[in-house]
Amino acid sequence: MNTTIHLVYLACAVSFVIGLHLMNAPATAKKGNRISAAGMAVAIAITAVVLVRDHTMTTGAVVALVIGACAGGLAGLIAARRVQMTAMPQLVSLFNAVGGGAAALIALGEPAASNQAAVTGVLDVAIGGVTFTGSLVAAGKLAGRIPGRPIAVPFGRPIMAALTLVAAALGVWFVAGDFNQWLLAGVTVAALAAGVLLTLPIGGADMPVVISLLNAFTGTAVAMAGFVLESTPLIIAGGLVGAAGAILTKLMADAMNRPITAIMAGGFGTGDAVAVAGGSGAASVREITADDAAIQLAYAGKVVIVPGYGLAAAQAQHEAVALAEALTERGVEVTYAIHPVAGRMPGHMNVLLAEANAPYPQLKDLEESNPEFARTDVALIIGANDVTNPAARRPGNPVSGMPILDVDKARSVIVLKRSLGHGYAGIDNELYADPRTAMLFADAKAGLAALLAGLHAYAG
């Protein structure tokens, strides 16, 4: 029987690996996730069978487990089903937080039986504690409950260093002493505080990378919990997610051209750019009314829509698609140029536009889009900033070397944006001073509605 159980666990581990691998490509991704989910369901079921067979649980434990799991599962299902696609990043962060929390609680609840369990238990509560509060702060920043700007904590670094020392000292005492669980609780408290201190100074724009990193942390914490419990499926799945999450974090950071070390140091990336209408570059920008812009769009041959963070934040994806449809009906060729990090998370913009029923073939990535701009009549930029800044082609500024969309190659550019406020990089966008660029100052949602109204009124 025990052999059977181990073989079933092995099959489940294989399904996680195959599932993750299939998620590397759009065509097979959905199947991959379902294979992984099926493996998970089997793993949970076989564990339940073993628990029932062994009769080791007290009635109290059965009640606590069933009530907790049912309530948690239901809460997760409802949240996952109801969430707006724009609010999805913070939900993923919340799920990550509770995963880390559960891993930490395992070490707290399971008295260490060996040196191995003690050492991994300390690592478990330390990593799990940091991801729990860290992911909650990240979710709060993405949801706007906590300001997205970097929050400097007074004496943050010395406090962080002190917390690390305290946690390490308590951890060593725990392992070397008689495995007193209160010492482990002390490590947990220090880790919880460290998680907050770690995430607060990081700006909202960098949150995707931070969540991905914390996701890798949770995987590692789960693997440590596996060592405490001597449970192979936890070790395999935790290690898998820890490593995969680390690679994914690096891919995301590369796409944003931001070294992970710089992100963790914090301070860059406000997430909510300050609205300073007519900021530093005010002298040379040209403003346009929504009606003029609508006429320009209506008589264009080819329009490329460049959606950015502003569109995601204003939840204006439906308006953008409605405008694109209206233009397509008039015979205008419309495509969307999607920068790898447009939106709130890499890949997020594709999800938002797909939700609004934008035809998949119209969604073009950076490489596909850039050659198109030379034969584009109007590039309509909606709430994107740094990813269009031609300054990235020159060395010596914060966006240098970042891959950008070559919108300045288009015959004309309309920028729909709330203000001349800076993007995450905190520098002026040279594109706005270009004589071919016209600025339409509005919130993305209101601005797109005005463009659509203008289209119907003047070009109907």
Binding site: L20, I44, A71, G73, G76, V241, A255
Partner: protein
Amino acid sequence: MSPLLLADLTVFTLALLVGFEVISKVPATLHTPLMSGANAIHGVVLIGVMLLAATVTDISGYILLAIAAFFGAMNVAGGYVVTDRMLAMFRSRR
């Protein structure tokens, strides 16, 4: 080191290597769903919580167990469903 710990360490190390290898040239479009999918997989922590249930015997243990079960189940159920919803958006239309 006990043979058991050695076996666990071997498994862990190999799992890390597989994790590094299995994520390769992912298009940026899939970064978010992939992160979410990986997030769902560490919901395996629920199994750990179930194993913990076999060892707790007092009221403080039960409370801790219930919270851990709530967290773990939320991670695994929500994680897979939200990933599925994200990926459902990728089907080609027209």
